[in-house]
């Protein structure tokens, strides 16, 4: 609290960042956790909440006639342009926010304050809700070829890996430890996904310390063991997700990539995904294009292209498709790495898992996947998301890219996923907001050291409870068994308005099919209830009439009606005519005097 210099500023203007619409006027409150803007200029109470930890940048601009502008942009791409009449107030708010948005240590994060009024049992159960070990069981482990080991139980083998690792049965302890010495940060090849149907596996690791000529017998044995765990295939792929040039540069530093001559029967492949720095800069450029007020066609399209963002998304997707194809069609195992194996490798392995396995296309499955490939395998959330004040060069939108790839997939397979866009946005939001403990820390060991499981709550049960909101009404289980083979033509990758303009209401499409269908789903529930009520009502009447022996009684089939009709309604449906009227009210179709109409005028002038 000591950082809050001015807890409340009145007469603050909130501008629309795209149009010259009249600004909203209200009061700005600064609390220990949030910045809150309460609009006073409209009749209905409208509040805008911004969590301090979500704020990426706060910028105070030079004084203007209107007042002192304060530009805030958040990690979830919420952008707010305030104008505060007094420069001093603005200065204070600015100073407070700069401090509050950059906590010095992890303990200051919101998760350590947040208490959803659960007792310890509930907290413990919550943390146990998603268990990545269970997922390996689901894949059929242990089996004849693979087993789960606890060789890393004290994090001695690899400090950034999970304590339990899937490795080939034939790999001896010596092989594993020897291989760890030859891999950057000891991140040995370990199982990521096992494809039951083909016996092929996706494994992940970090780059080998091969330098210009170094070899390691154990590492070669390790790869051989992985290869042999898939007896039907004569070879395995080794995929380096980096551009070849980057990988070569690493050789000079004593790292590098596998030499095909040293490893038996490997097929080595680069897939050319750029590093975290390129991605960070690319996002910056994308956001600049996104911030253009009324771009011309040419500004927009060339800006979008020059940002490179969509090209990078495509590169990640291409790599995921390559992996899935290798496993499903060539029935060959794949070993994936980048430099450290916690950024690009996580993206590519998790994407391939989604393409291969319909389980990960379910609400719970995605939780498991993120827990398994990202959290437990040591994606450095604290650093990549910039949760605490630290090296800005470690920040990079790696996870955002994964979520965006997923969205692009959902666009191509509208019926293939149990979850909808909202779910992705909600997860993305939680990754950055730190309201829950899941995405704090850089690896499993750090989380244990921080005692996160005792001090914070898990996000998964919370999302699960609200799962009805995240359901895709179009989801069709029957499509489930398919391996997805998305098209990766560049025109399939579009600017994600739902993510980057999520908080700019005027930029959202007026009618959303998802909202429309969710309303229908809701109406279905009401309709079912109404039907049950009516049936009870009828049954009561019938009972009475039957007692009277009335000849006008219900036909006999009436009694069998109820179970039949219930099964009819098991899927989404919408009852009642008046439902349409309700929907109409919900979908904003009415002439709006707002931003949309200003647009063409602006162009003409």
């Amino acid at each position: 609290m000591e950082h809050i210099l001015t807890p409340k500023v009145e007469e603050v203007k909130l501008l629309d960042r795209y149009t010259a619409k009249k600004p909203a006027i209200g009061t700005l409150y600064l609390t220990a956790t949030h910045l809150i803007f309460v609009e006073t200029s409209c009749n209905t109470r409208k509040e805008t909440w911004m969590l301090h930890h979500l704020i990426a940048t706060v910028e105070k601009l030079p004084l203007t006639a209107m007042g002192c502008p304060l530009h805030i942009s958040c990690k979830n791409f919420h952008v707010a342009h305030f104008v505060i009449s007094s420069e001093r107030d603005c200065q204070n708010v600015h100073q407070s926010l700069v401090r509050l948005s950059q906590p010095g240590k992890v303990e200051e994060l919101y998760a350590f304050l947040y208490n959803p009024k659960q007792d310890e049992d509930e907290r413990r159960n919550g943390w146990g809700f998603i268990d990545s070990a269970m997922d390996f069981k689901r894949m059929g482990l242990p089996n004849d070829f693979w087993e789960m080991t606890n060789l890393n139980k004290n994090y001695e083998l690899c400090s950034t890996y999970h304590s339990e690792l899937g490795i080939p049965k034939t790999a001896s302890k010596g092989t594993v430890f020897g291989s760890a010495k030859f891999r950057s940060r000891g991140r040995i090849p370990t199982l990521s996904y096992y494809h039951k149907e083909s016996n092929a596996a996706i494994c992940r690791c970090s780059q080998p310390l091969s330098g210009l000529s170094a070899r390691c017998v154990e590492d070669e044995e390790m790869l051989q063991a992985i290869s042999r765990a898939n007896p039907k295939s004569t070879f395995m792929y080794v995929v380096d997700t980096r551009p070849k040039l980057n990988a070569m540069a690493n050789r000079a530093a004593g790292k590098g990539y596998e030499n095909e001559d040293n490893y038996s029967n490997i097929c080595f492949q680069f897939v050319g995904i750029e590093n975290i720095h390129v991605m960070r800069n690319s996002l910056q450029k994308l956001l600049e294009v996104c911030a253009l007020k009324s771009p011309t066609m040419s500004d927009y399209l060339t800006g979008l292209e020059n940002s490179g963002w969509l090209r990078h998304i495509k590169a990640v997707m291409d790599a995921g498709v390559f992996l899935a194809k290798a496993v499903a069609e060539d029935k060959a195992s794949v070993l994936v790495h980048c430099s450290d194996g916690w950024d690009r490798t996580a993206q590519v392995c998790s994407l391939a898992s989604i393409l291969l396995d319909p389980f990960y296309r379910t609400i719970k499955g995605l939780m498991v996947l993120i827990e398994k490939e990202w959290i437990s395998m040591g994606h450095k959330f604290t650093q990549r998301c910039g949760h605490v004040d630290g090296d800005p060069k470690e920040v990079s939108p790696v996870f955002t890219q994964f979520i965006e790839c997923l969205w692009n997939l959902m666009e191509q397979y509208p019926c293939g996923f149990e979850y909808n866009e909202k779910y992705l946005l909600e997860i993305h939001n939680h990754v950055y907001s730190c309201q829950f403990g899941n995405f704090i820390g850089n690896c499993q060991r750090e989380r244990e050291e921080m005692r996160l499981y005792e001090r914070t709550f898990s996000v998964w049960p919370f999302l699960w409870e609200n799962r009805h909101q995240y359901r895709n009404p179009l989801h069709k289980c029957s499509l489930g068994r398919e391996v997805l083979r998305p098209s990766t033509l560049p025109l399939n990758f579009k600017f994600w308005c739902g993510m980057y303009n999520h908080f700019d209401k005027g930029m959202q499409p007026k009618q959303s099919i998802l909202e429309h269908l969710l309303t229908i789903t809701q109406k279905k529930a009401e309709g079912e209830k109404k039907m049950t009520d009516l049936q009870i009502q009828l049954a009561v009447m019938d009972g009475v009439l039957a007692d009277q022996g009335s000849p006008t009684g219900t036909p006999p089939e009436q009694t069998s009606l109820s179970p039949v009709s219930v099964s009819h309604t098991a899927e989404n449906a919408k009852p009642l005519m008046n439902g349409a009227a309700v929907e109409e009210a919900e979908i904003e179709l009415v002439p709006t005097a707002g931003s949309e109409k200003m647009e063409p005028v602006a162009i003409e002038n």
């Binding site: 771009p295 011309t296 066609m297 040419s298 399209l301 060339t302 292209e305 969509l310 509208p414 019926c415 293939g416 009404p473 179009l474 069709k476 499509l479 398919e482 033509l489 560049p490 025109l491 600017f495 308005c497 499409p509 007026k510 009618q511 099919i513 429309h516 229908i520 039907m531 009516l534 049936q535 009828l538 009561v540 009447m541 009475v544 009439l545 007692d547 009277q548 009335s550 006008t552 219900t554 009436q558 009819h568 309604t569 449906a573 919408k574 009852p575 005519m577 349409a580 109409e584 979908i587 179709l589 009415v590 002439p591 709006t592 949309e596 109409k597 647009e599 063409p600 005028v601 003409e604």
Partner: protein, 646 residues
């Protein structure tokens, strides 16, 4: 990356289902066939499709050709399903089709008076290419004889694709090459042959020519009323030969004056009403440019006339004149005697230029677009290549212009006059789009047909010239994708309001496909006068007859009747996208992954089922309680007390 096998089977699947739909007359369109195929199969089970199964998708309305068997000697499998009056003209074996996606395919080529039909039997399933000759814009012989003595022919098509064939040089030089025959029937107008639409005699349950009745449409709008009347002055197309016979003009302007106004407007296209707001009485009127010329000529009659249009709307004391052209072009037109309304001459009128470019710019833009999207898309510079075509920029300007018109009428309650040069291209785009935004009726399937019949066909958009039906002169400067742009704009609006339109994407694609196919009479000729003269309604079938015979295919399952809403689409760049489903539909990699359309239908069918059940039950409850009250009133009163809920 793509395995040739999958493209292969896909290609043939598309075409095989297209072949099936020959029966259903939609031979050029794949989207529906794709959809129905997908409906039956899971997305990746494509190789299992084969020709025999595809027939199940052909609707009941088929004209089984009887003549076909007589004409053809060979196995039935290599022949297309012929339409009534369709006659095979030539057939050649060992023709190679060089498919940009699969590679060279050897097969049999058949040319009829309606279509080109290529079938390759070497592949399993067979590969079929089936396109109406109307789609062909140009046939060119490429290069000389190759080493194998083959000649190569390129077909440039109007629907964003090119086809290449190769076949052996005829040894018998007297015999005409099949491509010469093809050229003859692809360009019947240039060769003194009838367009196939005049031969085709399919009978449909509905006469599509009756869809649009000008008087009925004006009546729907509440016209005539105290300010507007329907004049018969153009009954014989004497005042304006490119206008319809029914014209709506201000009540207080007598016919004689109309003729004098006509003298001051290019081609006599006087300002007439297109649409009237049911509440504010603000109107959308359309015309051609005034004949101002370099000397700034004025016409008292024209000025009085526009004043009358303004006066007909009591809500506003202003009139907006939207000139669709860029101001430079409008000014340049003065040299040719045209121009625009000066604000001195037209008091209370405000002139706005909408900066939409002319037909030549649009033609060039589409040509570039085709280069960028067909056959393959360059991976690295997709967005900047798209940008360089300016296609979306043009779409944006048209939509923005229509939006301003709709906004003036709806929010400003002000009447507008729209014109360009002749008032049959950009003006048609603008008025029809504005009307689509303003009036929910035009967002129904039948309403849209009325809109096209009215704003495009009856007001003389020159389809014959703009498309060049049956004409071999492919470089004709009168050709331009004006109507395609309009449909593209409609598609953009449907994307933003997915529940506000009764029709779906397939409906829009079908209209475009049959605009080129020359199977129906709808888009023949340049004006109503010509259509009457050619007796099109008598001699040809209307596209609407075909469409209205299978409405289910064209219905948007998400449609909710928002008839009283005005749609204001966002025309920012972020919300406009390239219509991939049309421009890139020939690329097998753009095939939709999932039949989402089908899924909507399923969900809505379930909804309807539940709705029905609830209604039934409700009726039961009402009946039951009614009958029990009856009983309550009847002599058996003693029962009543028992009826209270126990």
């Amino acid at each position: 990356m793509e395995k040739s096998g999958s493209i292969d089977s896909l290609g043939s699947k598309q075409s095989s289902s297209r072949q099936a739909s020959v029966d259903s007359l939609s031979s050029t369109s794949t989207s529906r066939s794709d959809r129905s195929t997908h409906a039956a199969k899971t997305p990746y089970a494509m190789s299992s499709d084969n020709v025999s199964t595809s027939t199940e998708f052909s609707p009941e309305l088929r004209g089984r050709p009887k003549a076909a068997a007589k004409v053809l000697r060979d196995s039935n499998k290599e022949e297309p399903q012929l339409l009534p009056k369709e006659i095979v003209q030539d057939m050649a074996k060992d023709v190679t089709y060089i498919c940009p996606y699969i590679g060279a395919l050897r097969g049999t080529l058949t040319v009829t008076n309606y279509r080109l039909f290529f079938r390759c039997m070497d592949r399993e399933p067979a590969f079929v290419l089936d396109l109406p000759l109307g789609v062909v814009s140009r046939v060119e012989k490429i290069g000389g004889a190759s080493s194998r003595g083959e000649v190569s022919y390129g077909l440039v098509c109007k629907d964003i694709r090119n086809l290449r064939f190769a076949h052996k040089q005829m040894e018998d030089s007297l015999r005409k090459s099949i491509f010469e025959i093809l050229m003859k029937f692809a360009f019947p107008v240039s060769n003194g042959l009838p367009i196939f639409a005049f031969e085709y005699g399919q009978v449909y349950p509905e006469n599509g020519w009756k869809v649009y009745d000008a008087q009925a449409e004006y009546k729907r709008q509440g016209i005539p009323n105290e300010s507007w009347r329907i004049t018969k002055v153009n009954d014989h197309y004497e005042v304006c030969d490119t206008y319809p016979s029914n014209l709506v003009v201000p009540v207080n302007i007598p016919d004689e004056e109309l003729k004098r106004v006509a003298a001051f407007r290019a081609k006599g296209r006087i300002p007439v009403l297109s649409w009237i707001h049911p509440e504010s009485q603000a109107t959308v009127t359309r015309c051609s440019q005034p004949m101002v010329g370099v000397n700034g000529k004025r016409s008292k009659d024209d000025e009085k006339y526009l004043q009358a249009i303004m006066d007909a709307n009591a809500q506003s004391h202003k009139l907006f004149i939207f000139d669709a052209r860029p101001s430079v072009n409008a000014a340049a037109n003065k040299m040719k005697g045209g121009g625009y309304e000066s604000e001195d001459a037209y008091q209370n009128a405000e002139l706005v230029f909408l900066d939409i470019h002319n037909i030549h710019v649009m033609r060039e833009s589409l040509r570039k677009l085709k280069e960028v999207v067909y056959p393959n898309i360059e991976e690295s510079h997709w967005l900047s290549n798209l940008e360089s075509t300016h296609w979306l920029e043009h779409i944006k300007l048209i939509l923005a212009g229509a939006l301003r018109i709709a906004d003036k009428v709806e929010s400003g309650k002000t009447s507008v006059v729209v014109h360009c040069s002749d008032g049959w291209d950009r003006t048609a785009q603008l008025t029809s789009l504005a009307m689509l935004m303003l009036d929910g009726h035009y967002r129904t399937i039948r309403g849209f047909q009325v809109l096209l019949e009215k704003e495009w066909l009856s007001f003389g958009h020159r389809f014959q010239l703009r498309i060049g039906h049956g004409d071999k002169n492919h470089t004709d400067a009168d050709r331009s994708p004006v109507f395609l742009q309009f449909i593209d704009c409609v598609w953009q609006i449907t994307r933003q309001f997915p529940a506000a339109f009764e029709y779906n994407e397939y409906f829009l694609v079908t209209i475009l496909d049959h605009m080129y196919s020359c199977l129906f009479g709808t888009f023949m000729c340049n004006s109503e006068q010509q259509r009457v003269k050619e007796e099109l309604p008598k001699k040809t079938v209307s596209l609407w007859a075909y469409i209205n015979s299978q409405l289910e295919e064209f219905t948007n399952p998400l449609y909710v009747n928002y008839s009283n809403h005005v749609l204001f689409p966002v025309v920012s760049m972020r919300h406009l996208e390239l219509w991939v489903g049309y421009y890139i539909r020939w690329n097998p990699r753009m095939r939709p992954q999932e039949p989402v359309h089908q899924r909507y239908k399923e969900l809505l069918a379930k909804r309807a089922e539940l709705q029905k059940r609830v209604e039934e039950l409700q009726r039961d409850v009402t009946n039951r309680s009614a009958s029990s009250t009856e009983r309550a009133g009847s002599p058996t009163r003693s029962i009543t007390p028992v009826q209270t809920f126990v």
